[in-house]
């Protein structure tokens, strides 16, 4: 199939960072299964992305193994290099299969649900609104980041004072799983991870992880690996979902009014639509243990399949007017949290974060308008570096 079409996925195509969706639509419409030069495959249509996410026998690839293979190269000629990337990512559940995956996943889930979420989130919201009160202009990404940071910092008892440092730590952790990362950045990630080995102080969250993983005899590095992923997964995607969603809503005064007047049920519907529209995690990877046919394309066993969730969430076969944020969208089987065995552990938390914050934040932000946006070049996780908002005169 791919040989018949000139449309090739290219995240470096013009304006991809600003708006990947026209390019993804082009791929979906004209070449929905593409073989890449490294024999991996990209899949763009909802039907197959959804099916493969839910396929029980499909595996995830191991980031830790990949980084382990590359460490010799990454740290060649680096004085006092202390390769830690493979070790640091060893127990990140989205890259684990089978029994160890189930155990780590259960531990993290239990730890998150041991928290007094509603109290923590309400307190975070209050702090955030207080921090930005009377500001003429600010970065909306930080507005959202500070809300999530306040919650996650308390929940995980993170010993880092400055928000900017937390943001950098989280972003470098997120980059470790990105595409097209040069060794120079891996070295930076490695140094950051090593320097923050002791930031997760004692907490109920950590106690629950330890209790739940007793039989696994985790060492300190493995415990750190779990704490890191709990932190990054909670901070990065929530910040991105909220900031991308608010950015879109602020462009549309009617939408702001609609949301401010919504009841609980309507609010839940809108929030699902924001998840669909934002899709912070744009791609995820699976391995097929047996050969498959996707459309006309034969995919040999053990291939790396890049499932483009961002494209699936805009597939017009499933979603009417997919490029519009429709607050009362009734049928909305979006895949923003993935699906199947690796479905997002924090989905419920993400929903609660939104339910608590969306209306109060919009009440505050409706007096502001977006004046500038700087998108990050990240591919797997879509994020903006800055969304500048200014008070309306």
């Amino acid at each position: 199939m791919d040989s018949e079409s000139n449309i090739k996925w290219n995240p470096f195509s013009p304006n991809y960072s600003e708006d990947p969706y026209p390019h993804l639509k082009n791929c979906r419409d004209n070449n929905p299964v593409q073989r890449m030069s490294d024999d991996s495959y990209f899949i763009f249509d909802y039907k197959h992305v959804s099916k493969f996410l839910k396929e029980k026998k499909f595996k995830v690839h191991s980031l830790s193994e990949y980084l382990g293979e590359k460490e010799t190269y990454i740290f060649k000629n680096v004085e006092n290099g202390c390769p830690y990337l493979s070790k640091a990512t060893e127990l990140w559940p989205m890259f684990l299969n089978d029994d160890i995956h189930r155990k780590i996943r259960r531990a993290i889930t239990k730890a998150f649900y041991s928290l007094e979420l509603a109290d923590l989130l309400n307190e975070s919201l209050e702090t955030t609104l207080g921090t930005f009160e009377n500001k003429e202009t600010f970065n909306l990404v930080d507005f959202c980041g500070i809300y999530i940071n306040h919650f996650i910092k308390k929940a995980l008892n993170i010993d880092v004072e400055e928000y900017e440092q937390i943001k950098q730590y989280s972003n470098l952790l997120a980059k470790s799983q990105e595409l097209y990362i040069p060794k120079q950045v891996y070295q930076e990630i490695n140094a950051e991870i090593l320097s923050r080995k002791n930031v997760f102080k004692n907490s109920i969250f950590k106690d629950v992880i330890l209790e739940e993983t007793k039989g696994l005899n985790l060492d300190d590095d493995q415990l750190y690996s779990i704490m890191m992923i709990s932190f990054m997964a909670a901070f990065e995607t929530s910040k991105d979902n909220l900031s991308l969603g608010l950015y879109e809503i602020l462009k549309n005064p009617e939408l702001i009014e609609f949301i401010l007047k919504s009841d609980t049920k309507e609010l839940k519907t809108i929030i699902e639509e924001i998840f669909r529209f934002s899709t912070p995690l744009q791609y995820t990877i699976r391995i097929n243990p047996y050969s498959i046919n996707v459309g006309d394309c034969f995919i040999p066993e053990n291939s790396k399949l890049y499932l483009c969730i961002a494209s699936a969430n805009r597939d017009e076969k499933i979603f009417t007017q997919p490029d519009e944020l429709i607050p009362n969208r009734v049928v909305n089987p979006h895949l923003s949290f993935g699906a199947g065995a690796h479905q997002c552990i924090g989905a419920t938390i993400a929903r609660q974060e939104m339910e608590i914050s969306l209306v109060p934040m919009l009440r505050f932000l409706k007096n502001y308008s977006v004046t500038d946006v700087k998108w990050s070049k990240q591919i797997l996780m879509r994020t903006a570096n800055t969304i500048t908002v200014c008070k309306k005169s």
Binding site: N10, F12, D38, K70, Y73, I74, N77, Y180, I181, P182, K183, Q184, V185, K377
Partner: protein, 76 residues
């Protein structure tokens, strides 16, 4: 010439080949650089020559040291 020499040094370092065995008209893919090293070289090119983000596909389009050196020359 400076750019070409810099590229030769870089590719020798990354591939582990002796500099004088590298043919500047030979496709870079023959030096068996994997995707991570190509991206890392692109990153170094950006820094060294003060260029904006380079599309890693330049290595496919300008696939020899001579072609790549000419391409960089045209960018700066």
């Amino acid at each position: 010439m400076i750019i070409k020499n810099w590229l030769l040094d870089k590719i020798a370092e990354e591939s582990g080949l002796e500099k004088d065995t590298i043919n500047c008209d030979e496709p870079i893919e023959n030096f068996e650089l994997d995707s991570l090293s190509s991206i890392s070289i692109a990153f170094d090119i950006e820094k060294e020559f003060n260029l904006d983000e380079i599309n890693p596909t330049v290595f496919q389009e300008f696939n020899t040291i001579n072609k790549l050196a000419q391409w960089i020359q045209n960018q700066i």
